[in-house]
Structure formats: C-alpha cells, structure tokens
C-alpha cells in the first residue's frame, strides 16, 4: 500500500492564556484533537484531526479556544487551489472515491438571492398580520376532482387523500442511521407539534416513533430498507425516493460503522455492514414501471394516503415531472443540486444536477402549460435557508418546501460536513451512544419548533406586506418577484421580470 501523503489541516485550533486545563475539550472531541500533556501540564492539540465542528469552542468554560482558517498555504495558483491539490494527494494515497457530506459548499449563483419580493403601496393596502388573520395553512396533493352532488344537492368530497400543512415547510428525508435516534425523535415531536410532517428517510421507522405516524412521511427507496406493511400503514404519506439532489443517479449510502443493533433491526439488514441502495429501483426502469409502484403502494394502503415521488433536479426534470404528474403521484418532491446528504461521492455532489430554483420554475410552468398542474403538488428542497427562500419558492410555484440542513442546524449542527465519518460531536450524525446522548430530545424539539414558528412569523409579515393573506394566493404568483443581476435567459427560465420593470 502506498504511503499516505502528508497534508496539513485546513483549520487550526488556537488556545489562549485563559485555558485552565479542565480537559473538557478533550472529552468533547470525538476526533481526538485535544490532549493533556502530563509533562508540560498543559493542553495540546492536533489541528490536522479537527473538522471544525466548534464543539470544543462552544463547550470551553473560559472561552479559551477558537478555530481559524489556516494560513499555511501552497504556492498560490488560481487554477490549482488547495482543495484540488489535496484531493489529488488523497486519491493518490488511498485510491478511492472521495466522500463528502452535507450540501455542495462551492460558490455559484444562488438564485434565491437574485430575486426580490414585492410590497403594497397606495393602490392596495398591506395587511397587518398582528391585527388580521394571515393564513399559511394549505393542503398538499391532487386538487383536481369531479364536482358531484348528493340527492340534496350537497357537494360530495371526491378528492384524493391530501396532507394538511399548517406552514408550507416540512422536514426532509433524513434516515435513521444517517442521523441519530435522538435527532429523529426531535424531528418527529416537532413536526407533530407544528402541524407539519417529517420524513423518516430510507432507513425504516423505529417502532418507538410509530406514535408520531400521523406526522410522518415514510420513504420507499431502491434499497427497500425497513419497508413492511405496518411501516406503510403507520405513515401519513409515502414517498418513493427516485433520487436525491446531493447525489442524482446513485443510491443512498450508510457506512458500516453506523449500522448498530437498532439500525440493523429498523432497516432489516445485517449488523455492521454497509447499507448501499442500488442506483435505480430494480423494478422501475421506466415511467410506466413507476406508475405500477405508485398504484401498488396505493393498493397496499387502501388508497388512503397520498404518494410522493421524490426526484433530483436534473437536466430533463421538466419532462420527468410531467410524466410523474400523469402517473398517479399526488405530490412531486424536487431536490436541488445544493441539497444535503449524510454521505455522497464528492464529485457527484458538486457537479451533478441543477439548481432547484430553475427546476421549480420550469416544472411549474410546464405543468401549467399542459393543464396538469392541479394533478399534483410540488414540494422543493435543496437548499432552503430561510423564510425568504420559502416565500420565493412559493411565488415561483411551489406548494411547500422541504428543509433538511436548516433543521439540523437548529439541532446544533455546525455544518462541519463530516457526517460520513460517524463521529458527530453534536450527537446528530452519529450512532455512538456517548455522542448521541449529547443531543437532548426535548431541547432539540423546542429549537425546531422555534425555528419553524419564527419562519412562519416572517412569512406572514412578508405576505402581509404584499397584501396577500392566504399562502394559496401566493403560490405561482410570479408578479410578486423581480430579478436582479440575472441574464435574460435566467429571467426567462425563472419566468419573472427584472427589477424596475413595471407590472
């Protein structure tokens, strides 16, 4: 085996005179960065092991620690930046596929930031959400249905099953395995309290969480992990995972070190082996096959639950979405190329797929042009960072948004992007019991509730400013957006006018 090439770490741990050698940092760091040196009676650190998760910084009682970007550098090169060089070193050393976690961190146009929201002046009044009702509630699913009446002329409910959402936000799929029991518990409890849904991901549903079934979306992915009759029956809706924004074209990957007893039970897989989902569903090689799975799941659950089909935003997204809208799906979830992941090949995460804003705008437009927008709801994710992103997504045409990374941040994640290593110091992306217990379920639940509640207030304020008091009147309302710093092509694809252009 080749010798590993030395690379210094990107970050340096800096300790100041306030350190009292209490060794809390040492106990808190699963990466073993900090060590107490008996000889010098002081703390030392190995910065190369640091993933910059900030656990030690936060826990240090004397504020003696900080982590800074290392200024150690190779000879400056605009083409060969340090990361590119180091990645070559890594692959030359180990001969493997580079793995990464969380969403694509690279610079590139974030279209959310290039769209501006409207407000009312003079000709119609803004509405004050503190004094008037402001509605963020909506129903997800198919809205088109026949108008039928009973003998007395009363309208009969002919609608397909729908999901009632109090805010247009849901927690996106994160499997038990990729994240911890405590993280799942907090997501389930918060979703239930908020009147929204969390998605258990492709790793099955722990029996402890069956009680939150009415707030749970369960996934059926290509690995079929943990899928059984009761799993489907417990859920409020079933999501067929065809793809994921962080890794379009490949299946999920749970490293063996994360597969403990509980995970193996829930996933119905052997203990301590990698859980790798196949790239395709091997019973779905075409759109007509997808239709069969959709109807199989509907039949299996007595046509009582909406079926979501989740796809990654790729070049041909418009035609794919149109096909899905005609295949019996009730909801299409589209995941953009900046979407997060617990583990994905770096090259795929950073290079495959397209931005969610463009995918959403084009899919919504096409489904309307074909007159089938009412057949499905559209849920978008990857990545939604704040309430303004939600407003912009809805105005472009989304029914609701999935948030993943933002929810993890609320639980304490500091976006160090080392989930695949399984040593999350925040107790989120790990299965090590000593780390998992650091995440307090009640506190995590409250933080998630706070986050979504805060976003709800902000959504209400922005809607009120526009004189819109129902989220339904914002959906697809593209005149409420204007573009800035965008090309004509980008404006055309987004279907919005440039800032300053009159209505």
């Amino acid at each position: 085996m080749a010798k590993a090439m030395y690379m210094h770490g990107d970050y340096e741990v800096v300790r100041n005179h306030k350190c009292i050698n209490c060794r809390i940092c040492e106990r808190q760091c699963a990466n073993e960065v900090h060590k107490y040196d008996e000889k010098t009676k002081s703390m030392t650190e190995d910065s190369d092991k640091c993933v910059n998760c900030h656990r030690c910084v936060v826990m240090c009682p004397t504020r003696a620690l900080k982590i800074v970007k290392s200024d150690n550098t190779y000879k400056q090169n605009a083409n060969w930046d340090m990361q590119s060089i180091n990645e070559v070193f890594k692959q030359a050393s180990f001969g493997g596929v580079l793995l990464s976690s969380m969403g694509n961190p690279k610079a590139g146009t974030i279209f959310w930031d290039k769209m501006l929201i409207n407000a009312s002046q003079v000709t119609n009044p803004p509405i004050d959400p503190l004094r008037e009702p402001m509605e963020t509630k909506l129903w997800l699913g198919k809205h088109s249905a026949a108008i039928q009446r009973d003998a007395k002329g009363k309208l009969i409910n002919t609608l397909s099953p729908q999901l009632k959402l109090d805010v247009p936000i849901m927690f996106s799929a994160m499997s038990y395995g990729s994240i911890s029991y405590n993280a799942h518990a907090a997501l389930a409890k918060a979703a239930s309290a908020l009147g929204i849904y969390y998605n258990c991901g492709e790793g099955g549903l722990h029996t402890d969480f069956y009680q939150y079934g009415a707030s749970t979306i369960v996934q059926v992915a290509s690995g079929r992990f943990g899928v059984h009759k009761e799993y489907l029956d417990r859920a409020a809706a079933i999501e067929i995972k065809m793809g994921q924004g962080a890794k379009p074209g490949i299946g999920g990957h749970l490293p063996a070190q994360k597969v403990n007893e509980d995970i193996s039970q829930t996933r119905m897989i052997p203990l301590g082996v990698d859980a790798i989902s196949p790239a395709p569903h091997h019973d779905i090689y075409s759109i007509e096959d997808l239709r069969q799975l959709i109807y199989s799941l509907k039949e299996a659950t007595g046509h009582t639950k909406p079926i979501i089909v989740k796809i990654a935003a790729v070049h041909n997204i418009v035609a794919i979405a149109s096909g899905i809208a005609r295949s019996g799906a009730d909801i299409i979830a589209i995941d953009g190329y900046r979407g997060g992941t617990g583990a994905a090949p770096t090259r795929i995460r950073d290079n495959v797929g397209i931005p969610i804003e463009l995918a959403l705008a084009q899919v919504d437009e096409r489904l309307r042009a074909e007159g089938i927008r009412d057949n499905v709801s559209i849920v978008v994710g990857g990545s939604i960072r704040c309430s303004a992103d939600v407003i912009k997504a809805v105005a472009l045409g989304a029914d609701a948004c999935y948030i993943g990374t933002a929810a993890l941040l609320a639980l304490g994640c500091h976006l160090c992007r080392a989930c695949h290593e399984g040593k999350c110091n925040w107790g989120i992306a790990t299965q090590r019991p000593d780390l998992v217990k650091r995440l307090d379920i009640e506190d995590g639940t409250e933080k998630l509730i706070n986050l979504v509640t805060a976003w709800k207030y902000e959504i209400e304020e922005m809607m009120g400013g526009m004189g819109i008091n129902s989220i339904e009147a914002l959906r697809g309302n593209r005149l409420s957006l204007r573009g800035i710093d965008l090309t004509d092509t980008e404006l055309r694809l987004l279907g919005i006018k440039y800032a300053g252009e009159s209505i």
């Binding site: 119609n124 009044p125 809205h143 007159g371 129902s470 339904e472 959906r475 309302n477 005149l479």
Partner: protein, 366 residues
C-alpha cells in the same frame, strides 16, 4: 409611447353601482347614469361603462355582439369571419351614439345579432356557449383592431373612455330599458385609456364591474389559463370574469359556492361554523385553492336573471346594498343608491366575503 391594456398589467380604483327590479319590470338606463354621476370623484375620466339586462327583448334568442373597430380593415376581416360561422339576424349597424364634446377618439362601434350556423356548430363539437366563447377569443386575439366587448343574449355592454355619465349619454342609454343594470367608473393608475379596456368586462351574459386591486392576480391568472382562458387585458376584472365563467358554466358551482372559493372565510372562522357548513367550505377551498382572491375588491357580477355583489374577505373596499319594494341595489356608496331611490326599505353593508345575490322572482329570487 404608452402601452394599452394587454401590453401591461393594469390596476385601477373605481366606482360601481347596480340595480335590479326583481319583478322583471324595466328600468330606464338613465337611472344608472344618475346613480354613477354622484360618484364622479371615484373616476378619473379614463373609463366608464354599463351593462343592461333584458334590453333586447325582440332579439332575445340571439347573441348580441357589440364590437369596437379601430379600422375599416378590422371590420371587413371580422365580418368575413362572422359570416362564415353565423346567421346574421339583422344587417350590421353602427351603434346608435350621441356625439358630445366630452367623448373623443371613439372607435367605430357596431352591433350584430347572431345565431350560430347549425352545421358549423355541430362540426365544432362544442356546446353553443363554448362556440361563442371561441368566436370572441378568436376575434379579439387574431384580428388587429377588432374587439368584441359584449356577446350575451338579451343583454349588452356599453363602455368607453370618459367619465361614465358621459359615456352613458354618448350611448343614448335613456333609450334602453332593462330589468337590471350595472355600471362602472374607472380610476386607472397607468393607462392611456383604451375603449376595450373600460369596464364592464363581459363574456357571454356574465359581466363584471370591479373596484380594487387584487394581490393574488398572477396566482389566479396562471391557474385559470390552464383551462383555455387567455388573460390578454391583464386586468383584475378580466381574470375575475373568467373565474366566474369557469366555476359556474364549466364546473357547475352556484354563485354562493363561487363566493366561498374566491372570498373564502378564514380557516379560523370556518372552524367555528356548524359541521355541515365547515365540510362544504373546507371542500371548496381544497378543490380550488388557487382561485382564492386576495387584496381589496368589491365586484358586481351581472348575469341572466340577476346580480351578485361580493367584497374581499377583509372588506378593503366599500360596498353598500339596499332594497326598495321590488328594487334592489348594490353600489360603492349609499349616495349612488339614494340618488335614484331616495326612499329605501332597507340599507345594509354586507360583511367581507358575504355574497349578496338578487335575482328575478321568476328565477326563484328573493
């Protein structure tokens, strides 16, 4: 150069008024002129119009088309199209008008009474109403300088650029009698004034006059355009008319149900209603969420046999209703009603989202 309606989205403030005699007795068009005149300050001279119902009893079986032509060519093209698809009940005639100084730059205005050619109708595989809608759409979108602004039976729209009281005089409305009238005075903020852009907006026998600026416009427009409508004027009134046409003519909802779609009660209000009512209102909101209309509006919809008034659910625009014997009134201001009926049995202000429906007694009216 300023762009005309259709090239830009157009918003405006306005005055609206209406009257119906529920016994079916005819009311002279002059009363509408007298009613709207007192709301002069609510218009700015850039548009006014009227819709009269029951005004063509001698031709009540036939579609009365009112057209604006900018050029002789537009007229020739339109007539050659119409002759292929309709039987002409009367010779085309210029609309009777009375030249006054206040009204300038008027287009050529013609009226036709038409019946679809049975063979053409049959081969189109459309019902008669849809055949008419297609005809109107084809003329308005493909013949430059031609605009059908009225296309119903036994009713007609009269509108143009000017103050509504002058427009009424220009069209000699004192020579028409109908059982119901609606009227509109316009206060647009960004139009040079185009005759076709004045209101009422009409499709078949539906007419809408509207005061407000809806904030849901693009959500409503993009939804309704899925069903074959094209919002070419980009006005609130146009999209509201299409919503009524879609929900009533194509989906078979009642006016009351339409009100619960476009100005639904808040979820919190619905939660406190009796169970059966809750079920109905929730179902309608779930069926047509994208037709929820927000932002200020007061509208009066005219249709064969009645009128309906509706406010947005926060009641951000004024709207008053009144009754006197068989007469019923809906208007922006009480003064507009008192101007033509000083004595009233009842005056009331409907709540936001509460529809007011007055129909002929023979249609089961109240």
């Amino acid at each position: 150069m300023l762009l005309k309606e259709g090239d830009i989205r157009n918003v405006s403030g306005c005055a609206i008024t209406s009257v119906i005699d529920r016994s079916g007795k005819k009311i002279n068009g002059k009363s509408m002129i007298d009613s709207i005149r007192v709301m002069h300050e609510r218009s700015n001279g850039l548009g006014g119009g009227f819709a009269g119902y029951g005004i063509y009893p001698e031709y009540k079986e036939y579609y009365a088309f009112h057209l604006f032509y900018d050029t002789k060519t537009a007229k020739e093209l339109t007539e050659s199209f119409l002759i292929k698809h309709f039987e002409w009940i009367t010779e085309p005639s210029p609309m009777q008008t009375h030249k006054i100084a206040q009204i300038q730059n008027e287009p050529h205005i013609y009226r036709y009474f038409l019946a679809p050619l049975p063979k053409k109708l049959q081969s189109s595989q459309l019902d008669e109403a849809e055949y008419i809608v297609h005809t109107v759409k084809t003329i308005n979108s493909t013949i430059e300088g031609a605009f059908v602004f009225s296309s119903g039976k036994n009713m007609g729209v009269f509108k143009g650029v000017g103050y509504p009281e002058d427009i009424g005089q220009y069209f000699c409305l004192d020579e028409y009698e109908g059982y119901a009238w609606t009227c509109h005075g316009r206060y647009p903020t960004n139009t040079p004034g185009w005759w076709g852009g004045a209101h009422p907006f009409a499709l078949l026998d539906f007419t809408v006059v509207h005061n407000g600026e809806i904030s849901s416009y693009d959500a409503n427009r993009r939804y309704i355009e899925m069903f074959g409508y094209k919002c070419s004027l980009q006005t609130d009134t146009e999209v509201i008319t299409y919503i009524f046409d879609y929900l009533i003519r194509k989906k078979g909802l009642t006016f009351d149900e339409v009100a619960k779609v476009i100005a639904p009660s808040f979820w919190s209000t619905i939660a406190n209603k009796p169970k059966e009512q809750q079920e109905e209102e929730i179902l309608l909101r779930r069926l047509f969420p994208s037709l929820c209309v927000t932002g200020p509006f007061s509208i009066i919809v005219g249709f064969e046999g009645g009128i309906m008034g509706l406010n947005d659910r926060l009641k951000l625009r004024s709207m008053v209703c009144a009754e006197y014997g068989n007469l019923a009134f809906i208007a922006s201001e009480e003064a507009a009603i008192r101007a033509i009926a000083p004595q009233l049995d009842k005056v009331y202000v409907p709540a936001g989202g509460e529809p007011v429906l007055y129909t002929l007694y023979e249609k089961g009216g109240n």
